[in-house]
Symmetry: D2
Subunit: 251 residues, 4 copies
């Protein structure tokens, strides 16, 4: 056993995401993949292998049982499975109350670039006269704007409201219906759908004589991996429940 | 008299645009500024100075008289004054019928980059599954989309119709009103209004695995100058009426 | 047999590229995949199936035999296999001299966006004071600049030389070694190597007050497919040898 | 006297920058321009008008006398004049020791967008495998890279060193001299010089499958104004010496 490496287990290891995470853990010199578990396998494998952190990308139906087991056995967890509402988060908190040394990270988005770009947009929003958001995706996407663009626009709107910033100036008097984009809490959001794209977002901020653009491009699903590894490395130092990877980014 | 240089006159020389053109002609080593005329001055100055090409950025009220004089006196003209409809263009053509050696260039837009980007968008449009247009301007602009974006989208739509290309794919089923932009002949156009911007346009074209972006940025009014000089150098070789600088770009 | 569809065969059908082409042909409503041939299979399959156009992405060792067979049997060919020098091209031409109704397209690059961006850069180069090229690739690339960037810069340099354009202005007197990029025939080329990128290129053209940017992004290998299909559809109308897809783009 | 407005004075009011600041103060509804002073005028005007904050864009030769007077008279100062070394900063600190209620802000760069983009780059640098910087300026610039690009690259390098991040991966084995840019503490910096540009900078950060781009565009000199007004509004709440506008941005 190499005491210098974090001992990592993966739940949902046979899935597409799980395989990518196993590969990423394998490739990291400070981590060791010691147990992989999939549907039908016993969770005891994590205890037997002295796993320190388990990554869970499984299914809403099973994730609560998984988490309960891990917390009870003193194993930290990094969770990308969806479906966590307030009630579920409260249950996780109550389990952790009995095991105060255990850390659980639950995050809806592990793409570090996406999270950073939202935070930067939020931090910068009050210093500029104007802010707009352009999100660009492949043409098979059903919703416009994207969930990330909605969230980004709301964070921007909230930051500007708190700072008492005036609405973005706009002298438009003649508009082709839709040309000026959708309105999310006063922030204009434009959704481009284009073959050849994957998932991209630009926040444009402007004031007299200068503009600041924060752009995030995600071109494959593997973009969650660096965020998951960051979670694996950090969660041992953060007992209790952490929601979202933002707190790990120390901004 | 330096026979190697084109002898240039400027009409409306005291105006803001006229002054910029005088400066640009002065700075060009192959051109010589030999006469400047403004409101109240006699057009005879051009004849007396043996001017070969006159640049006219004046006013719709006077430009027809100016042009009539220039054509009758065998002087080429490069005209940026607005207000030319079919009737006016026909009158200019009839004057030129009597003076077949004279060239007149009338153009609504001398920004070479803007004209090229429209032409490139038009040429590329039929080879891509998807095309959208984003135009970005200062927040004091009254119309959305810009005239250039309308024109660009129409050229794109026409090129795709002629080639029998299917509409850009779009699986959107849930849309925040306006998020997907305005619809110009089937081409989505998005208008951003932002402090710190001047006049910018992006045409995005996409097909499987690749995208092509044609972007034009105009940051000051002087961007007409290189196009005007191009007109001055070329119009002597193009007798008759030329509308728009496109034919001079030899694309 | 559906007479409204082009009957297509694929050589090297079992390879990665070949499979992608088979899938693309299958998905196109105006094309019909009638024969696939791989190593060891007989080329007679194309004759027996009355194939009209064969796509060849095989190997330099076998491509000449393939082509000879196809031309002799009156079958058009679209070839992405590498290794064609002048001698090989001349041999193909000599075969075609005997079969003047057959068309052969041999192209080193089928990515339409890449080819268009090179052509647009070349066409625009003489109208701007300044031109520079930025190419951006994944960090595993061994050569800097990329082959495409070299070719683009040379086309730009040649267009400017033919038009007698002065070198791009540059007042740099103090330079950190390498900051101003590499010099390809007088055109500055900058090579970025960044994790998360695939293959991207930007040509920046600037003159007084305005810039034009032509950007190409390629994010997966499949970006050759639309160009191959274009070739399949057009080669029947273009007897003789065509080198590169540029002539098919009608620019 | 309107007690709800900050009473502002301007030193160097007749200069180009000074005039722009006077106009910006005039246009701000929460500020009142009560005194303007230029070469030869007495500083007593600030005392007589009960000025609360003075903006100083003057000259290294006179700025120390100006500041001494302001501090002694209990007037806050926002200073954009250059030439402050450690010795000068220490002298200002010693004056402030006797007037602990007075605030002085001395900043080399008031462009909020530039400062934010540097801070964001610094904060994000350790989460990405690769970082490179592209700065783009007008062709009359003498130095490459720009001072801002040097500073940005050094902040990035320092943040990565502190976090123990490996160097950006780079498999280049064949390089045209200069293509891969200049090396600033291990960060590649590329300098583009192009007619039609003013001052622009892009920081590109990339990791598996995603990239984050932070871009700042400055298109006229007036981009200092919003930062100066921010300083005017905040300096009254920040007694002592503040260097750079970063602390005012609360990041």
């Amino acid at each position: 056993m190499d005491a210098t490496k974090v001992r990592v287990g993966v739940l949902g290891a046979a899935g597409k995401v799980g395989q990518a995470i196993c590969a990423a853990v394998d490739a990291a010199s400070d981590l060791e993949l010691v147990a992989t578990v999939d549907k039908g396998d016993s969770l005891d494998a994590f205890v037997n292998s002295q796993t320190q952190v388990v990554v869970d990308f499984t299914h809403p139906d099973v994730v609560m049982d998984n988490l309960h087991f891990l917390v009870e056995n003193g194993i930290h967890a990094v969770v990308g499975t969806t479906g966590f509402d307030d009630e579920r988060l409260d249950r996780v908190r109550s389990w952790l109350a009995d095991r105060p040394e255990v850390g659980v990270l639950i995050a809806p988005n592990f793409a570090i670039g996406a999270v950073l770009s939202m935070r930067f947009a939020q931090a910068a929003a009050r210093f500029f006269d104007s802010v707009e958001v352009i999100e660009l995706h492949h043409p098979n996407k059903a919703d416009a704007p994207s969930g990330t663009a909605y969230r980004t626009a709301r964070l921007i709107a909230q930051a500007r409201a708190e700072a008492g910033v005036a609405p973005s100036p706009d002298a438009t008097t003649t508009e082709l219906d839709g040309a000026r984009g959708g309105d999310v809490d006063g922030v204009r959001v434009h959704s481009v759908r284009l073959a050849g794209l994957v998932a991209h977002q630009e926040v444009l901020l402007g004031t007299q004589g200068e503009t600041l653009t924060i752009r995030h491009d995600s071109i494959d699903r593997s973009s969650f991996a660096p965020g998951v590894l960051l979670g694996v490395r950090e969660i041992g130092k953060r007992p209790g429940l952490t929601v979202g990877i933002d707190p790990l980014l120390d901004l």
